[in-house]
Symmetry: C3
């Protein structure tokens, strides 16, 4: 059995822990044994769990940890750029990453899903969608038919990427934001919470409101 | 066993195929045999599946297809008016339609659901709601207690029709739009993505924003 | 077996009845017997079910009902202040309340959930969240990691309380409204449907729009 190590012991990390425990529980029910031995968190703040109810502990800092065989990793850090940097550095040191996909998520059989993913409860990824590496897709968010997400996108809860949209790399979508069919969104775009995007958005822009308009950072 | 034929091989049609496959899979798990033999798509664009991963193919055009016994149909065309025309024409030629209701949808036992429906994953239809014929209700959308939908409404994903609302025929709701309790919406109303409707809307109008205001087409 | 009595035979009450029936059905499937004998509604309007399809009836008014042993109650009244008053009065007369939590809801093992709750289908309450007493959390609504809800909050459908938010008592959130991470919301705040709250909101205020702004009642 592999040892699962969660990078980041903040809110996202603890939510990923719950997902991993739900996956283990389902595997026990279906197959009689759990999927992973959940080994602990890595976090540079060794006090990150202070005051929190949590079934596992922090076993080291990110840079300080020595990878052993049977370790698999997931990077539960919400910031796209930081997540990408950590995943790339850890992979260069030999780390193997796994996807965390909650059992309640629905993923069409025709999708292509990259590696290093975190897919929360009640997510739906629909027909012929393509998801790059290192994305986080939070609860209730949906990617409809034929849409394409680049690497390291961070999709908050209750978002809807409707049909035939294209998103670049490291796009952030705030809670309950949505993109109408066929829109093209560049890389490093920041879509504010609740925004409804009805037009093309170029690289590096931030958009807010309904219909979403460009705002300065 | 009936043959299921999906009219429309676009994004909606392929999403309906996934729903039908999920229904088949659940029937096999529960009862040992699938519900339908999924025969294929009808589409006037015989190249509609080009470049797509898909387990079935297009078996003919809509008008060109000869109905045989054991055929049942579902019309997976997002445009309300076109869907109505095709369903009415096919029925006049003897076609029998079936409802596609994803196993993850929750439907209260007191609801009245019409025929020729498509109900996506994670939909919730609540107490004493009434749904007309030929509606499409996309993923995560909810119709709360006592609300009434007319025929051929098209409800996108993440919409909320709250309690005691009334919608006419062929209403379109864009993604994540919502209607506050008790609102009356006429027929052929177009509610833009992300709109929050707080007032009555008369037949044929288009509304946008939060609170939703009338806009010209 | 306890007798379940639902206070309020309006839309919310009938939705709670459906939840209770779903809980019973799941208990029968898993353990061979239902959880409650669902005894009926209490409502001061004895005609509240007129014209509705409903499997149970109104067995008395709220004040007129004489509590018997084995009765447990749930208060399905959407107005926070009225719900609090009825729960407090009934408890002073010896009533024992139960939580209604739909089987499709996902609740992290680290959460603290108060008493007298109603938790609808597809709700998600995430890591280390704390929910006070007497809250109603409607379908698809989510409370993310570390957020705190005071007593008697009323959360409509499709809401997102993101991570590390704090809500006071009797907060109302309209459908599809949401609060960005870390926001502090006072008591008796009214968040209109579709609002995106990006700032602190003091006690007793009403906010509307995206970004949400203060409006007069």
């Amino acid at each position: 059995m592999k040892n699962l190590i969660i990078i980041g012991a903040g809110g996202c990390g603890r939510e990923v822990l719950q997902c991993a425990e739900d996956i283990n529980e389902k595997m026990i029910a279906n197959e009689g044994s759990k999927k992973w031995n959940i080994k602990g968190f890595l976090d540079d703040n060794l006090n990150a769990l202070e005051g929190k109810t949590c079934s596992i502990s922090i076993i080291g800092s990110i840079d300080g940890y020595t990878i052993v065989s049977d370790d698999v990793f997931v990077c539960a850090i919400g910031d796209s750029r930081l997540r990408q940097a950590i995943i790339e550095k850890m992979k260069s040191k030999g780390a193997i990453f796994t996807n965390i996909i909650h059992p309640s998520a629905i993923i069409a059989s025709s999708c292509k899903i990259g590696s290093e993913q975190i897919i929360y409860p009640f997510v739906l990824i629909s027909d012929n969608a393509v998801i790059g590496d290192g994305c986080i897709i939070n609860m209730y968010s949906s990617i409809a038919h034929d849409s394409i997400l680049g690497d390291y996108c961070t999709i908050s809860a209750h978002c809807d990427i409707t049909g035939e949209c294209t998103l670049g790399q490291r796009v952030f979508m705030g809670t309950t934001s949505n993109i109408v069919p066929g829109c093209k969104i560049g890389s490093d775009v920041y879509i504010c919470a609740g925004a409804t995007v009805m037009t093309k958005v170029r690289n590096g822009l931030k958009v807010l409101g309904n219909p979403a308009k460009i705002v300065k950072f």
